[in-house]
């Protein structure tokens, strides 16, 4: 299948939906792609079918605008690789689609930062956001099971509240940041009373369990699955019985697509100009990709990128002052929840860091960088392609992963076989047929 559009938006979370809707309403021919079966991304992710829980009113409003717009919505399609400037290959199962575009807006969001500790590979241990996602997809802990949440960030409290909402009171909630660090957010929170009210509502829901600050998980143990966890405040260590441990340390942006497109990075995200434009001509980034900052920042960046990509820079520029406010809020949050150095010392030499290839901390700490680790130990070369251990290795050893090779996601060999032919064809014929400008594709 071959498609042509003005604006291709990758990722249908808050940033992607806002980008697609504003670009389409501004008159552009828009294509919105997401690998998930439904729109909403992780934060607006609801039950895969229509679940009983109320949906976010902001989501419903934008979803309605999306449905009324001319935007072409391609769910279940994954990006395989760029085939040349202005052309990208998508796959769904064995089917492929080559999309030619003039502008691309990457809004691929973020994933959880999952850090190793002894026992973190045991069944029953999962991410904190993962617990939230499983709950939204029908997971119900058995009555009497002890579910502990730990790690860092505002997501912890939100997931604990989700757990309480289905009738399971969290047996414990541990945040690694100290109370003094968290208090530095207060002036900014007072300026965003809705956020303060949300935090209070979450805390109320999980009572009498209380968020314990300055505590983290040192280890998990059990025979076939987790049975107990060791908790510490840095001075004392104590064991707690546990059937499910949900532990995540905030979010990291999904940089694979912008990296593959050659976009320059800055700090923890993609470098963008005032209207979300990247270092690569015609490519924009919006949302968590430019630095983790939550749904309000993502929605504004999506709208700015959508308007700019549809040729309406003046309208886009009007939203920039409000975006600045949310960026400041995000900055405060990031420094309040900064990870403590003690978390780098949790792994024993035999603790697995790369879960796909079972590579141990003892082997990895001998390596100099991500590349040498990959070559010598196969770290990051398994099925997840470093999506989990990459962020862990960056935190533990300070390694940056700078390269990204296709395919972007695991696809059937069939999709790749066609891809080799097509890329040869398009790179050789691209300039002559004007395919680089995104208007047509060679046959």
């Amino acid at each position: 299948m071959r498609l042509v559009c003005d604006v291709l938006v990758v990722g249908a979370g808050p940033a992607g939906i806002c980008a697609a809707v504003t670009a389409a309403e501004a008159g552009a021919n828009v294509c919105l792609v997401d690998e998930n079966p439904a729109v909403g991304g992780q934060i607006w992710r609801h039950s895969m079918t229509s679940g009983p829980e109320p949906k976010d009113p902001t989501f419903l409003q934008w979803n309605q605008r999306l449905e009324r717009s001319t935007c072409r919505w391609m769910n279940g399609w994954q990006v395989v690789e760029p085939l040349g400037p202005g052309v990208i290959r998508l796959a769904m199962g064995d089917a492929t689609a080559d999309v030619a575009y003039q502008r691309l807006i990457a809004a691929t969001g973020a994933r959880e930062r999952l850090l190793p500790f002894p026992g973190w590979t045991l069944p029953g241990v999962m991410g904190a956001g993962a617990l939230g996602a499983f709950l939204r997809n029908g997971y119900r802990p058995r009555p009497g099971q002890r579910v502990l949440l730990a790690g860092s960030g505002p997501l912890l409290l939100a997931c604990a509240a989700e757990l309480a909402a289905i009738g399971t009171r969290p047996a414990g909630l541990f945040e690694q940041a100290s109370r003094t660090r968290l208090a530095t957010m207060l002036p900014e929170l007072l300026r965003q009373p809705a956020k303060l009210a949300q935090a209070a509502a979450y805390s109320w829901k999980i009572l009498p369990t209380w968020l314990r600050t300055h505590c983290w998980i040192a280890a998990a143990e059990g025979r076939d699955r987790v049975e107990r966890v060791m908790i510490t405040d840095g001075r004392r260590y104590w064991w707690s019985a546990c059937d499910v441990l949900a532990c995540g340390y905030g979010l990291v942006p999904n940089l694979e697509l912008p990296r593959m497109l050659g976009c320059a990075l800055a700090g923890a995200g993609v470098a963008v100009g005032p209207l979300q434009q990247c270092s690569v001509e015609g490519v924009f980034c919006a949302g968590e990709l430019t630095g983790v900052g939550g749904v309000e920042k993502a929605m504004l960046e999506g709208q700015i990128a959508g308007l700019a990509a549809a040729g309406r820079p003046h309208d886009a520029a009007r939203l920039v002052p409000e975006l600045r406010r949310w960026k400041r809020f995000a900055g405060r949050l990031a420094s309040a929840y900064a990870l403590r150095p003690e978390l780098k010392k949790l792994s024993a030499p035999e603790t697995i860091v790369c879960r796909c290839e079972d590579v141990h901390h003892g082997e990895l700490r001998e390596q100099d960088n991500w590349r040498s680790a990959k070559l010598a130990t196969r770290c990051g070369m398994g099925a997840c392609q470093g999506r989990i251990c990459g962020a862990a290795a960056e935190f533990l050893y300070g390694w940056k992963n700078e390269s990204q090779r296709p395919p972007l996601s695991p696809v059937p060999v069939g999709a790749l076989a066609v891809s080799f032919e097509a890329s040869a064809e398009i790179t050789s014929a691209g300039d002559a047929t004007g395919c680089a400008s995104g208007h047509s594709l060679p046959d």
Binding site: E35, T49, R111, A130, A133, F134, Y139, D224, A383, C384
Partner: protein
């Protein structure tokens, strides 16, 4: 009340509500998903389709990310 579906996980009958993901069904049935390179049993972990720990054979198709699949009635799931 949501409709109940039944699936067979490693030969065992498991009942779930309609709309449940296969990974959620594995968690509730206490059935780990894949066996790691070194032989450890692993269970669904990231919940968003990236860690690949929840892979299983579903209706004869190997390496399915069960967190991205919704349960269907009479589905057969085989984990390693």
């Amino acid at each position: 009340m949501a409709k109940q579906l039944s699936l067979v996980v490693n030969g065992r009958l498991v009942e779930v509500e309609e709309g449940t993901s296969v990974a959620a069904a594995l968690l509730m049935a206490d059935e780990p998903a894949r066996i790691s390179v070194a032989g450890e049993r692993r269970a669904p972990f990231c919940g968003m389709g990236i860690c690949m720990e929840c892979r299983a054979t579903v209706d004869g198709v190997p390496h399915q990310r069960t967190c991205q699949l919704v349960c269907r009635d009479q589905m057969k799931v085989v984990t390693a």
